[in-house]
Symmetry: C2
Subunit: 290 residues, 2 copies
């Protein structure tokens, strides 16, 4: 059976287009930059997680568009800020100049700021019950803040000055990428609050694929071609960063990836065939080449 | 009759303290920086606007703490980002090193990001009806985004390259500072939705004091002592910025300030004595020396 990944990608493209001001809106340079960073061929993994989890709980895709757009807006803002010279200082993102290179640093800072705001606005404007919208705002905020994504990015920056232990590396990634992945899943499930064991299973799934995603990133940094990844090969190595590869070696990292993949798949056992989309996503994450 | 400005300042200090993680929370450097920027003697004008407007509509101060904290969190995040080298490149804020000088640029970017998130989180966590919390999130988001505060900051940056007309200058300030001032007032009034004429009056009041605040800023840049303002004197002039003073001269700007003040005071006529706190705030704004 083929799964509706393409259809979901199109849904979220549409939802994003509807939620942002036209590129000609004043101040036009800011809105042009917002369009530039949002529509550059992102994989939309987090929105797909929202839809796939929603499908598991029988929710209609149209009731999830705002959540899907919101997690992508938060994700995109974080990329724009992480790429800044004072942060990771990246020149390319998906093969194109990063926002501060295509525009300028001040614009990139403001683009990120505006995208974060927009994420909350999109959720607010959804034609859904107050209960769902409030739950979504809560998930988004707790995933994004200083004890979530932003805290993880801070740890990542500090890790450039000292090497991390495996536990520290895990904690950093669980916050930096794991928190928003987890929020995407929880937002897809809300407010059909699953029983505690289903909730535990979803959290374990989220944490496993969140870490798997990062382990695969670390492997791709060594083995990926910069044509497909859109980033220079070996940049982690050059920056002396602690990664799963630097701690375990490439083969060790691949074993870790398999372990996390298996853990993710097993965590879905209780849902049976209904969890097929989530399972396929877990497969995609470990097999992707960019 | 003395008004409870001091009591309101203390309330919001307390609300802010309760809403942010302890400075020792991991990552500690990030949380230390958050404490540094939030507690450095800010005047808390926006929180006071929330309380003063709430008082006008008979709302209890304790029901407004979250709104008061949220507008201050948004305001503080915007200051931290505006001070960055790529933006206004300011070294001092209220006489102390700006966040990126006291810590570093990456930390300052992340502090701003985390404070914005926190603003939405504080509103979500308030022990109030869904209706009020949703209304507050909507006000906060629409004031902060690319058609509000962030859009105004973008216009301000672009204005450094070309001089503005008086209309452009007004539009820029109405977005850059006016939008959040307006949101503070609307959040104080929500959900006791006033009738349309009361709503119009509040919007006129908000826009008048928002612009008055900025005109007074421009005058203080020329006439204020850097001891009281905490910023170098004449920095607008040096940066060749369009200001109310550059367009009207100092005396013209003072006349504009009086006009805006009068407009603000008159807009409150329909509320009678109940609007005393808001009136006193308008007086404070035109008389302040820092």
């Amino acid at each position: 059976m083929s799964l509706p990944f393409d259809a979901w990608q199109q849904r979220v493209e549409q939802a994003l287009k509807q939620s942002i001001p036209a590129a000609t809106t004043d101040p036009a340079r800011l809105h042009q930059a917002i369009h530039y960073v949002l529509f550059n061929g992102g994989k939309r993994v987090r929105p797909i997680l929202v839809y796939a989890t929603g499908k598991l709980f029988g929710r209609a895709a149209e009731d999830l568009d705002a959540a899907a757009a919101a997690v992508e807006l938060i994700h995109t803002y974080s990329l724009v800020h992480d790429d800044l010279p004072a942060m990771d200082d990246d020149e390319l993102r998906r093969g194109e100049p990063t926002c501060h290179r295509a525009f300028d640093e001040a614009t990139a800072i403001l683009v990120g700021d505006a995208l974060q705001t927009l994420a909350f606005q999109v959720v607010m404007d959804a034609d859904l019950t107050a209960k769902v919208r409030l739950e979504w705002v809560r998930e988004l905020a707790s995933a994004s803040g200083s004890r979530g994504m932003v805290g993880g990015q801070m740890m990542d920056l500090q890790a450039e000055e000292s090497s991390l232990s495996i536990d520290e590396l895990r904690t950093m990634h669980l916050q930096k990428t794991g928190a928003l992945i987890r929020a995407s899943i929880m937002m897809g499930a809300a407010p059909a609050l699953p029983d505690p064991s289903a909730q535990d299973a979803l959290v374990l799934f989220a944490e496993s694929i969140g870490l798997a995603f990062q382990v695969q990133d670390d492997i791709l940094d060594i083995e990926g071609s910069s044509d497909t990844t859109g980033k220079p090969q070996g940049s982690d190595l050059e920056q002396n960063k602690t990664t799963f590869v630097s701690l375990f070696g490439v083969e060790g990292a691949k074993r870790e990836l398999q372990k996390l993949h298996q853990q993710a798949v097993e965590s879905l056992d209780m849902f049976g065939e209904r969890a097929e989309s989530l399972q396929e996503l877990a497969n995609f994450i470990v097999q992707r080449d960019h």
